[in-house]
Symmetry: C3
Subunit: 458 residues, 3 copies
């Protein structure tokens, strides 16, 4: 697991491993492009030292808190900032439960690369806590210094449509990293979202239109998208349980909307209006050029008590069976061939990869295959992802790697993992006589450096 | 395929193979813990010699009879005990159809380890029949002797709720193996079960309550669970087509029940009551502590004529698409965080592994990832199982291996196959720098010896 | 990627690769049996020189045109025969987008084996166009000469039920290849098919029965099947979105049919009648002996504008989630055990392989596992196919490889790819001690040469 092993994540076969090492070396030090993620822009802006190891590495990373919870830790303890040493001890004392997991892999890389800790379980929790705490006080561990050290050229955040994007403006000079906002309007367009009513009310307050004015609502969304664009945004993101899309005529839509803002829709009507709005967002993207990313197929806040007590993003968002082919058809009928429209699809249902996403991206110029997402952002899953998409759609219909992370410190480990995985995959294809070495050398660079720039219009 | 090959099921790469061999050696001779299966307790109790090779190795193993049937053998012949030599000849003469299958692998291990037969196809059917028959007459081939020889520490059977568990009582001393009953109430709680009416009638006769008394029905089920507990049971098993759960208010449930016992429910109502009862069983498990195992997603008795002629478990139970996330939500809302409640999920739909089961087990302390089940209990399937679950939930949220078999003689081969598979998987992770050798050495022991004890409260 | 690499598609491990090479050598030069495909019989009959490289290798191959379209090429250009040099330049200039794809692999084999071009991207498009054009003028590049050169023993075409099969009659002597028609009645039995109305009208015209005479309709279909059989057909093919089957009583079916031919069914009724007719076709197959092949799970003509402009088979047929277990149950209840009835299942939803198709073929003697189809006809997909089916159903319940191609020149490359994949898979099983080398040597021959003859009754 150690980063001192230069062959980590490479194939076991000696010659193929050698080739993977050569391919990886070509891209190892290329800048990091992170066009979608959840790092807090205010944290970057403030540039304060990170408060303590638990706040930095545990509390905000629901990959980590969820597995500690599953193995018996108290979620209230983990999510509370008042006792970071006790939280830290949970992680260190149960380090074995992370063996083989993606987050265990990332944490190990971080421990070694940033704090020089080879085996976290071999030290007492207090010792490693103290060691890391001391390091966090140093100037080179401040957020902006790490942006440089990590070699992050582009970093996108994810933002509320009514955000003034002040941190982004402030950050627009002074760091070598381009920090971009991303428009994420789920709470404004999906009546099933628990914050829908308060969101549309705030939007109407902002625009000055009556709350139940459907055309004012659409115009206000367009205005906010434009605001985001003027502040550097290149994409609009959509998290949905189902990627269903649907075209309502404007009168029907307006009537549903006016009832939606009075909380007067049943479940089916909520779904219909949400599907209609997903199609509207595609229309806006086709006009204003913001890349449309869709993260589909997750049942959010599966355990109600936990959600009531601890809020969202606390580890119980669980995937559901997903399908794109029929659900996206109205959208692709309307905009699938529109020049400049980009739609990037992310899934946590692996069955969609060979069955739907690769075939769609192999026909529609607008459709891009998103990177392995969430639970699938891990070495074996990523290998399956490549093996399930490349044979149908090749390497050039993908978005490039996307870390989609809240865990700032994990960004380099994740990108390196993706690069190693791609080098390993390409090396295998060369070894099997399916690709020339020369082609692989070009592809590994394109995948890391060119595809995200193309897909996200950077 | 021979057991004389010490490297069977290990990776092809030389160094990784060496490491797998080392890891396997650590657990090779650990006792077998078999916390769920279908061995006949009466057979163990009687301890008679096995009657003949076909009765022992073919007739009761629907893995074997189904593939012989698919390749042209007459099912009536295979399932009838009157002509065991003819049945045996079917297997020997078509041995090639089992090449590459899991059951072929197990049978080969059994032929070699127990009867010294290297190549069953190289002998005439009569020769191997005679050879095995002669061996079956020896004292060391009696069931109880094999329990010792196989090193089986724990063996769970699966039993009707109204069973008096006499064999278990009789077996409670005299063997070195702990023989446990398992409460399996499908026919008592699912109105779609062909034996529902006779089962609930028998239960009411047993309890003395009126047939249509819902609270008496629940109390009778609880009484039988308690009886099982007092006879050593640690778990209650549930085989369902869909893992749907649903909370009805008691009056609605009582009304449905009183109609169910008069065979007066339509298909939808049967499903609703069954889903309600699955939730009730979780409630009982949360109170009495019996581990709840769920085997979901199988269309039982797919071919009606075969079922009418030959009965259930005759090879035509076929998997269907399965999903747990929404179906189990009512159950997990109610009991997902209940201390001491254990829910072990088994699937024959591999898509649920990375999409649902690993994410659920990565959050809910009550949820355990069951072992590869039925058609998936095979080397490549088991490797996919690990690769689809470990990256999300690690190694410590699993139940350990479960053979779930009617084929008594296959138990050691199956457990050895699982141990080899885990050793191979861990060796690969070490080889890829994702795990230290030290961690792998601990995990291989925990997976074999500790996890089943934890998950099944042994 | 070069065919000069004798180890292409073989395992990376040295000893296993050696074994794969030995196994492949046994079958490398066996004749090609292609019992299902879409080569134009008139083209074979005419035996004219191929007009130009684009007509031969691009325009009719929607694997190729779709990916060019997805990467920005104009579909109108690609599908139009008026500017073949411009079309050719699209392929050559974007050759990198095919890296790692199945069609890229086949094209590379064809470039090398037939035209001596090692690296198409290293020459100007005009140079390779000229070189190939010149070659196409030679006698040994005529269609019938290639049938011989490719070693094609059997080649099935796919034909309209009203076809007079004149090309097949003409081809019945004079080539060493047996050219068989295949009965494909989708447009005649599925009211959702855009050509249903014109097809049933043509059928009624042919038979002389009134258009809305259901029994005449069934008799006419039976008569055409018989005509096909007398012209050498061995199978009837069915392409369906869902493999749903349903038994209507004759009166209900007749009533639906008489409304269907007046275009008076709603969507649900169309599905019901289509499901009924799929069951009828199974009945006809059970009586006349034509092997029933089912290609299920594709949403045809996903993008309406493209379909209106360019017609069907233009690259936007996209898979959908598929399930066979419940959908095929009425069919298998009726005919699953009927002696001589053969049902071969093809899927583009990989989830059905281990979950449904292998279990069905592991019980029903009539069910055969079709080869990896369409998007899944590629090296990694084919390896997953074997690993997902063999452990349950062995090697002997499969149909053997089927190329299902319109791209005549790709036939040898595809069959060789399948043979190499099987050799690689078998070599791994031998290397892992799961199969003897002797057994593997038998299986590799049976899979290539015996299984298609058995499954398709050749």
């Amino acid at each position: 697991m150690s980063i001192t092993n230069p062959n980590r994540l490479f194939p076991l076969d000696e010659r193929t491993r050698e080739l993977a090492r050569e391919l990886h070396a070509i891209v190892e030090h290329l800048p990091i492009i992170s066009p979608h993620g959840h790092v807090d822009p205010q944290m970057l802006r403030d540039n304060h030292p990170f408060p303590n190891p638990s706040e930095l590495l545990i509390r905000h990373d629901h990959y980590v808190t969820r597995l500690l919870h599953a193995t018996g830790s108290d979620l209230g303890l983990l999510l509370n900032e008042s006792n970071p040493r006790a939280v830290w001890a949970e992680l260190v004392n149960k380090w074995n439960v992370f063996a083989g997991t993606a987050s265990g892999y990332w944490l190990q890389q971080e421990f070694e690369a940033l704090f020089g800790i080879q085996d976290i379980a071999a030290m007492s929790p207090d010792s490693s806590y103290n060691l890391i705490s001391a390091a966090l006080g140093r100037p080179e561990m401040r957020p902006q210094a790490l942006l440089d050290r990590f070699g992050i050229e582009v970093l996108a955040t994810t933002d509320d449509p009514l955000s003034d994007l002040a941190p982004h403006s402030a950050l627009s000079s002074g760091t070598g990293t381009r920090i971009l906002p991303t428009f994420r309007a789920d709470a404004y367009i999906d009546p099933s979202n628990p914050n829908f009513l308060s969101s549309v009310r705030a939007l109407a307050d902002h625009s000055g239109d009556p709350l139940d004015d459907y055309s004012g609502y659409l115009a206000a969304l367009e205005e906010r998208r434009d605001y985001f664009k003027r502040h550097g945004a290149v994409s609009a993101d959509h998290g949905v349980r189902s990627p269903r899309t649907l075209a309502l005529d404007p009168d029907t839509a307006a009537a549903l909307y006016s009832r939606a803002v009075r909380d007067d829709l049943d479940e089916r009507e909520k779904d219909v209006f949400g599907a209609h709005m997903l199609l509207q967002m595609a229309g806006m993207s086709s006009r204003d050029g913001l890349v449309m990313t869709v993260h589909a197929g997750v049942y959010r806040n599966h355990h109600s008590d936990t959600w009531r007590t601890h809020g969202p993003d606390t580890g119980h968002d669980i995937p559901v069976p997903t399908s794109f082919t029929e659900n996206l058809r109205p959208l692709l009928e309307a905009y699938g061939l529109t020049p400049g429209f980009h739609l990037i699809l992310f899934t946590v249902d692996e069955t969609t990869l060979s069955r739907e996403i690769a075939p769609l991206a192999g026909f529609y110029p607008s459709v891009f295959i998103g990177a392995p997402w969430w639970f699938l952002d891990a070495p074996d899953s990523a290998a399956r992802f490549r093996a399930s998409t490349v044979e149908t759609a090749g390497f050039y219909r993908g978005s490039g790697f996307i870390d989609d992370t809240r865990a700032f410190l994990s960004i380099p480990a994740r990108h390196d993992m993706a690069r190693r995985g791609d080098a390993a995959f390409l090396a295998r294809l060369v070894g099997e006589g399916r690709l020339s070495k020369k082609a692989a050398e070009q592809i590994v660079v394109d995948v890391v450096d060119r595809l995200p720039r193309v897909a996200f219009k950077l």
